[in-house]
Symmetry: C2
Subunit: 397 residues, 2 copies
């Protein structure tokens, strides 16, 4: 049964607290997607997207609120309504820019706190998460229903409340005949593995390790440049295989998925150890080795994952790359050769009509649409939930 298409706005604010990303999407709701062609299985289309920076004072207030130990409850309450106003502004501006009005809004909100692991509090064991940005304000000002606050329902189902974006990867990239891995390389690198003809419960997602953050850190330290543009420095260096072997011994890489890496996992301490392992080799060798570490840890994770359960016969044919790492040619070429030995071909997410910058906003449009139709949209195999859950809360205009 195919329903009338809906225009859905997805709204995302990331933990960097830069501002607001809005994507407008056409959702075609076909409960039994046709399986013949790649395109027909993708039941949504990006209309356009836009980014809005927070005003300086607001960004400062958001950053101050994250994990704050001495916050004003009155100001936190005001910040919630203020962000609602800014989300409404951003959606209204995007709508007028694209000359289209949303029928439904999916608004992630700004995360102030997230604790996916159980801990004791006043005598109870619990997990918790907090996304702020009042949806009642958004619904009233934009004049459309809003689905907000997606993470608590997954926590309530025993999950870690993250990651939620793999559901989008699943919709976008699942294929009847091909196993695919959606690989994002941001500061941290994470993948969504979608076996051929997978049901939602067969999709797995986890962090593979460092993405750009170790490369950036050593480039900044050794070359006083914020990142290795295009991978040029790495291209001129020699990879130190012994260093890679040593670093891959660390506990994170040996843990079975699903697993998540905080930024602290590959931060200052990791970089210090990495540099110590590199010893006195030339500077560009060190950047090359950091780049190879990302490529090798991704390939390694895939190999461990696919061989961990031989009875399932997990076979993957394509990796679809997104994120800033896709612009690093040296990293891409290293990854291409690593993947070749695993029988995987490398492609880029832009080929599938979804620019990296819009991806998370699109994800929350898609998740909102699922909730609107009372369908679960967490992937228990990715979040660790014990069951599927309908995510979010609905506010009417």
């Amino acid at each position: 049964m195919t329903k009338k298409p809906m225009i859905v706005a997805g709204v995302m604010s990331g933990t960097s607290a830069d501002g607001i990303n809005v994507a407008l999407v056409t959702m075609n709701d076909s409960r039994q997607p046709r399986e013949t062609k790649t395109r027909s299985r993708v039941n949504f289309q990006l209309i356009g997207h836009a980014e809005f920076a927070y005003p300086k004072k607001v960004r400062a207030a958001v950053l101050a609120a994250m994990n704050a130990t001495r916050a004003s409850v009155a100001d936190l309450s005001r910040l919630n309504f203020l962000l609602g106003e800014l989300y409404a502004d951003a959606i209204l501006a995007t709508q007028s820019q694209l000359r289209i009005k949303a029928d439904l809004i999916g608004c992630h909100g700004q995360t102030l706190y997230h604790q996916g692991e159980t801990a004791r509090f006043l005598g109870r064991k619990l997990t918790t998460t907090w996304q702020t940005g009042e949806p009642a304000i958004v619904a009233a000002r934009v004049g459309a229903p809003v689905v907000s606050d997606f993470r608590p329902a997954d926590l309530a189902a025993g999950g870690k409340g993250a990651p939620l974006v793999p559901f989008l990867d699943y919709l976008l990239f699942r294929d009847a005949h091909m196993g695919r891995i959606a690989q994002n390389i941001g500061g941290i690198a994470n993948l969504t593995a979608i076996p051929a003809h997978a049901s939602a419960s067969q999709v797995i997602a986890f962090d593979t390790g460092p993405g750009n953050m170790v490369i950036d850190a050593v480039t900044d330290r050794l070359f006083r440049q914020p990142f290795d543009r295009g991978g040029r420095i790495a291209a001129s260096g020699k990879v130190q295989a012994n260093v890679i072997r040593k670093m891959l011994q660390r506990e994170f890489f040996r843990k079975a998925p699903p697993k998540t890496a905080g930024r602290e996992e590959f931060g200052r301490e990791f970089v210090r150890e990495f540099l110590r392992a590199c010893g006195r080799c030339p500077k560009q060798y060190i950047v090359a080795t950091a780049t190879a570490l990302t490529a090798k840890s991704i390939a390694d994770a895939i190999q461990r994952y696919t061989t961990q359960d031989p009875t399932r016969k997990l076979r993957f044919h394509e990796m679809i790359l997104s994120g800033g790492g896709a612009k690093n040619s040296t990293l891409v070429s290293m990854l291409t050769s690593e993947l070749a030995s695993l029988g995987l071909r490398l492609r880029f997410s832009d080929e599938f009509g979804l620019p990296s910058a819009a991806k998370e906003a699109v994800a929350f449009a898609v998740l909102a649409h699922e909730t609107w139709h009372r369908r679960a949209s967490n992937l228990p195999s990715a979040t660790g939930a014990t069951r599927p859950a309908i995510l979010g809360k609905i506010s009417y205009p």
Copy 2:
């Protein structure tokens, strides 16, 4: 059209942070209620109710969080999920006690902050409110959809986000031929005026002034008793009419409705002034005068309100009394004679099958049911909103 009846649980935690009140209600949804008999117009029935005290540590944490200036964001986030667990516990316990399962839940949450008046914050004028207690946890554990967070939508519609309970008074007490005033006498006294055959937009609600709090304060001070049980002390004293006249000159009493009184309005400072006005008269005269002040200020408010707009021909026939003040016989008899001069008869809310203790919890069951059917349930004439609004957010189990 009459729909299938729903069992709805209403859950309330008041600002005193004592704990959780749960009411289970059968809702019969008839869009056009029959207007012939009082009973048939009341389209819900209380099945039962129960109260649960917060554990001491939780109460302390809630009280500490209210208006806190140095709160931990992590702990506020944990408190939200913890209260969700306690709400779920309370509903499950009430269900098993009454041997019935709710189809829907309306959960008010615990108010941590409320600012119904516009104020500037980081460059924007806004109002705000904050009710905590995670509904995703409640929905998951009880296995029914939850409507929560009722106040923001009224704020988004330009209202003060309060009072919301008058909607229940309207459903309970509206009559085709009789104008009624639902009068609650708690610490503060507030009324809901429902003209005969009123539409929702004709209902007005406001605080009339002190309820028991001035009586309690002077009784405590002069007799070292927490309250004047049954109004016995007042019964033995003489009312000082000049004191009443003087106190009723204060700005609050002269302001036109809708108006709200904070507890600070009739607190220490007011009592000091009241005692000064009483001068050296006998102690029991002072308690009698404080009791008469409540009765007179209620009658006065009704008279001012009904005469303020003579063209509307507001006429009221009955006052329906609820709250602790209904147990003070002296107050009741004073009120009876004040009302007689206005042509009003006094009745008690218990006659209508709704115990005072269950009233707020029932109200949020009723409001949840309206939201579930996508109907507005704020009363703009009571909250000051510019339009009706569908209140709350829906979380699915």
